[in-house]
C-alpha cells in the first residue's frame, strides 16, 4: 500500500469518525447535510472477522475475503435543483486503494414525473441483490454466490481448449490462461456486486411498476470504466409490486464479454463483439410482519473463443439459485438463513464430461443484534461444499461483523 493510498483511506475513515463530533454524540445517526440539504453525505462501515478460508469460497479477489474485511463506503449526493443531482461513492477495502465505486449525474427531465436518466458510473440494472450489497441490507455476512463467487472465467484471458478450462476448475481466485493476458488474476462472478458499470441508464416507476434499462461499457460479470472491446451491454430490469410487501423482478443483460486483446489472441481481428455474456434473472421478495423471504435465480451464458480441440459445446452456462429468509425474533434481534447453489453446464475433454466449473453449494445461518438503530452486530456460520476442483471441497466457516451506517 502506498503512502498516498494510506492517507486517502485514513481520510475516508476520518470523515466517518469525525462526523460524530459535529453532532456532539457518540455516533452519528443521520446523514451529514450541508447547504440546506443540497449536499448529503452518508457512510457505511463494516468490519468483519472470521475463519480462514482455505477453499477460497468467500474471496472477492486474490487478496480480499468477505469474511475478513474492513469496508468503508462514503457516499454523497449533491442536489442541484429539481432536475439534476450528482451522486458518488468512494470505497476502500482493508484500507487499500480508495476507489470511485459510483459517480453519475441523475437527471430528471420532468420534475413531476418519476423518470430519471443516469449518466456515468451508474447503479446496477441487473438483479435484485446488486442494489443491497451494503452490510445493513444484507442479513448475513456472506454474499449470494452468484454475486461473489469467482468462477474461472476471465474477460482478459481465455483458455485455448476445453481441457485447459477443466484444469482450472475452482481456481477463480487466481487463474491463468494461455491466451490473452497471461498473468494470474481473478475470475469473475456471474454478476459483480462490487463494481458499478459505466454508461447511460433510464429508470421510470409508479406505484405498480419499476422499469430500468441501461447501455453500459462492461457486462454484469465485468463492469468497466474503460471499454475493452468496443461493444456495449444492454441491460433491463422490471419490477412489479402488485401488493405491499411483494416484489416480482425480472432482469436481462447481454454484451461483449471477452476483451479485445484476448479475442484477437484467440481468433484474430474482427471478432471482438462475438464473445458475449448473456444473463437472465428472476427474483421474488415477500415480506410481512416479522418475515422477509427472498428468492433469486440467475442464468448466465458465456461465449468464449475456444480455438483448439476438444471444442467446447458453447455457450458455457452457469445457473445460480438463492433462497434467503429473515425473521425478527425480538426488537433488535433477528435470525437469518440463506441456501445457495451454483451449477454449471458440462463440457467434454480428456478428463471426461464434467461441469466446466466445480458446482458450489453454501448454507449460511446467522443472527443480527442491533446495538443501536444504525449499529448492527452479525454472527454467522456457513457450510460450503464444492463438487470437484483442486481445492478444499468442504469448509465450515464462522464470522462476526460489526456494521455501522448513517
Amino acid at each position: 500500500m502506498t503512502v498516498w493510498r494510506a492517507v486517502a483511506s485514513l481520510a475516508c475513515l476520518g470523515i466517518v469518525l469525525m462526523a460524530p463530533a459535529a453532532h456532539a454524540q457518540i455516533l452519528p445517526s443521520e446523514p451529514i447535510a450541508f447547504g440546506g440539504g443540497r449536499v448529503t453525505i452518508g457512510a457505511d462501515v463494516s468490519a468483519t472477522y472470521g475463519s480462514l478460508d482455505p477453499g477460497w469460497f468467500n474471496y472477492t479477489d486474490y487478496e480480499h475475503s468477505a469474511l475478513r474485511m474492513l469496508r468503508v463506503d462514503v457516499s454523497a449526493a449533491v442536489n442541484a435543483g429539481a432536475h439534476v443531482a450528482v451522486l458518488g461513492e468512494l470505497r476502500t477495502e482493508n484500507l487499500g486503494a480508495v476507489r470511485p465505486y459510483a459517480l453519475y449525474a441523475r437527471i430528471r427531465p420532468w420534475a413531476k414525473r418519476n423518470v430519471d436518466v443516469n449518466i456515468g458510473r451508474v447503479p446496477p440494472t441487473f438483479g435484485a441483490f446488486a442494489r443491497r450489497t451494503y452490510a445493513n441490507d444484507n442479513p448475513l455476512i456472506g454474499y449470494p454466490l452468484a454475486y461473489q463467487y469467482l468462477t474461472s472465467l476471465r474477460p482478459d484471458a481465455v483458455p485455448a481448449s476445453a481441457q485447459e478450462l477443466l484444469d482450472k476448475r475452482s481456481q477463480g481466485w487466481r487463474v491463468r490462461y494461455t491466451l490473452g493476458d497471461q498473468a494470474a488474476d481473478r475470475g469473475v462472478p456471474l454478476v459483480s456486486a462490487f463494481r458499478f458499470d459505466t454508461g447511460v441508464q433510464i429508470h421510470a416507476e409508479n406505484d405498480l411498476v419499476r422499469a430500468t434499462a441501461a447501455v453500459t461499457t462492461g457486462t454484469v460479470a465485468n463492469p468497466l470504466f474503460h471499454d475493452d472491446n468496443g461493444g456495449r451491454q444492454i441491460a433491463a430490469r422490471m419490477e412489479l409490486r402488485p401488493v405491499a410487501g411483494l416484489i416480482l423482478g425480472a432482469s436481462g443483460a447481454r454484451g461483449p464479454f471477452v476483451g479485445a486483446t484476448a479475442a484477437r489472441g484467440a481468433v484474430g481481428d474482427g471478432h471482438d463483439r462475438e464473445f458475449t455474456q448473456s444473463a437472465y434473472g428472476g427474483d421474488v421478495e415477500y415480506s410481512r410482519g416479522y418475515y422477509l423471504l427472498r428468492y433469486e435465480t440467475i442464468v448466465s451464458d458465456w461465449r468464449l473463443p475456444i480455438v483448439r480441440p476438444p471444442v467446447l459445446d458453447l455457450p458455457l452456462r452457469a445457473v445460480s439459485t438463492s433462497v434467503e429468509g429473515r425473521y425478527k425474533i425480538a426488537p433488535g434481534v433477528y435470525a437469518a438463513a440463506r441456501v445457495d447453489h451454483l451449477g454449471f453446464s458440462e463440457i467434454t475433454a480428456a478428463q471426461g464430461t464434467l461441469p466446466w466449473e466445480a458446482p458450489v453449494t453454501r448454507v449460511e445461518v446467522g443472527s443480527g443484534f442491533s446495538i443501536q438503530h444504525n449499529l448492527l452486530l452479525k454472527l454467522s456460520v456457513q457450510r460450503n461444499i464444492r463438487d470437484g476442483g483442486r481445492l478444499t471441497p468442504r469448509d465450515t466457516l464462522f464470522a462476526g461483523q460489526l456494521a455501522f451506517w448513517f
Binding site: E30, P31, A33, G36, G37, T40, I41, G42, S75, A76, A77, A85, L87, G88, E89, Y101, A102, R106, R108, N114, D116, N118, V122, P123, P124, T125, A130, R131, R132, T133, Y134, Q201, H203, A204, E205, D207, R210, T212, V243, A244, G245, S287, R288, G289, Y290, L292, K328, A330, P331, G332, S370, Q372, H373, N374, W405, F406
Partner: protein, 250 residues
C-alpha cells in the same frame, strides 16, 4: 244558639289542635333533623372541597437557539431512481415539563390513547408527549410498508411490517424518552416522551406553552427539543396565579 254554635266551633278547633300537636312536633323534628344532618354533611363532607388547594399555571416561551434541520435521506447511490418526495417533520415543537411533580391525586395512570401516524414517509406528529399507561396507535397511511421500532431503554418494541390502512399499537408503562424509527425508511424518526405526571405542555408554532392545573408549590421546569434540554429553572406557583417562565434551548 249563635253563641253555642261559636263555642262549639271553637271547642272543635281546640280539640283538633290538641289532637294535631304531636304530628306537628314530629314534622318539626324531622325538618330540624334533616336540616341538621344536611348542615353537618355540608360542614364535614363539603369542607375539603372548600379547602382544596387552588391550582395555578405556568406559561412562557421556548426559544430555539440552534438550527435543527430534518434528517435527510441517505444518498441513494445504488437506486436507479430518485426517491419520492416526502413531508418534513415539524422540529419546532418543544416539550416543557416539571422535573418532579406531586404524586397521588394529581397522578393519572388511567390509560387513554394517542396516535402517531406514518404519512408520506414521516411520523406525524414528530413529537408526542403522553403519560404512563397510555397506548399509542401507529397507523400506516402510506401505500407501502412501514416498520416502526424502538430500541430505547424506556421501551423496546418492533411492530413488524404492515401495509396501508393497518395499525399497530404500543402501551407505554415507563416514563422516559422513546426514540422511534422505521426499519425500512431510515430518515423516519420521532420522539415519544412518556411522563409519570400530567404537568407538561407542547409548544405551539411560536414556541409558546402553558401548563395548566399545577398545584401550588415550587418546581424545577425543563424545556426539551429534539434531544436537547434546557437547564432546569425553578418556579413557584401560587393559588390561582400564572407563573411566567421562558427558556432557550441550545
Amino acid at each position: 244558639m249563635e253563641i253555642h254554635t261559636r263555642m262549639t266551633q271553637r271547642t272543635q278547633r281546640t280539640r283538633r289542635a290538641e289532637r294535631g300537636a304531636p304530628v306537628q312536633s314530629v314534622i318539626v323534628f324531622l325538618i330540624s333533623f334533616v336540616s341538621f344532618v344536611s348542615f353537618v354533611s355540608f360542614v364535614f363532607v363539603a369542607q375539603p372541597t372548600l379547602q382544596a388547594p387552588r391550582t395555578g399555571s405556568i406559561r412562557g416561551r421556548v426559544e430555539l437557539r440552534r438550527v435543527v434541520s430534518p434528517p435527510e435521506r441517505r444518498p441513494s447511490v445504488a437506486d436507479p431512481g430518485a426517491p419520492a418526495g416526502r413531508d418534513l417533520p415539524d422540529l419546532r415543537r418543544s416539550i416543557v415539563y416539571l422535573e418532579s411533580a406531586p404524586r397521588g391525586a394529581f397522578e393519572t395512570n388511567e390509560g387513554g390513547r394517542a396516535v402517531m401516524d406514518q404519512r408520506n414517509e414521516t411520523f406525524v406528529p414528530h413529537v408526542l408527549a403522553i403519560t404512563t399507561g397510555m397506548t399509542v396507535d401507529f397507523p400506516n397511511s402510506d401505500k407501502f410498508y412501514h416498520n416502526v421500532f424502538s430500541l430505547s431503554k424506556t421501551q423496546r418494541f418492533d411492530l413488524g411490517r404492515y401495509a396501508a390502512g393497518r395499525s399497530q399499537s404500543v402501551r407505554f408503562d415507563r416514563p422516559g424518552i422513546v426514540r422511534v424509527f422505521c426499519d425500512i425508511h431510515s430518515h423516519m424518526n420521532a420522539f415519544i416522551l412518556v411522563f409519570s405526571h400530567p404537568f407538561y405542555a407542547l409548544t405551539d408554532d411560536e414556541g409558546r406553552y402553558r401548563i395548566e392545573r399545577v398545584p401550588p408549590g415550587t418546581y424545577n421546569v425543563v424545556a426539551w427539543n429534539e434531544g436537547a434540554s434546557s437547564d432546569p429553572k425553578s418556579v413557584t406557583v401560587h393559588d390561582g396565579s400564572i407563573a411566567e417562565l421562558d427558556f432557550s434551548v441550545r
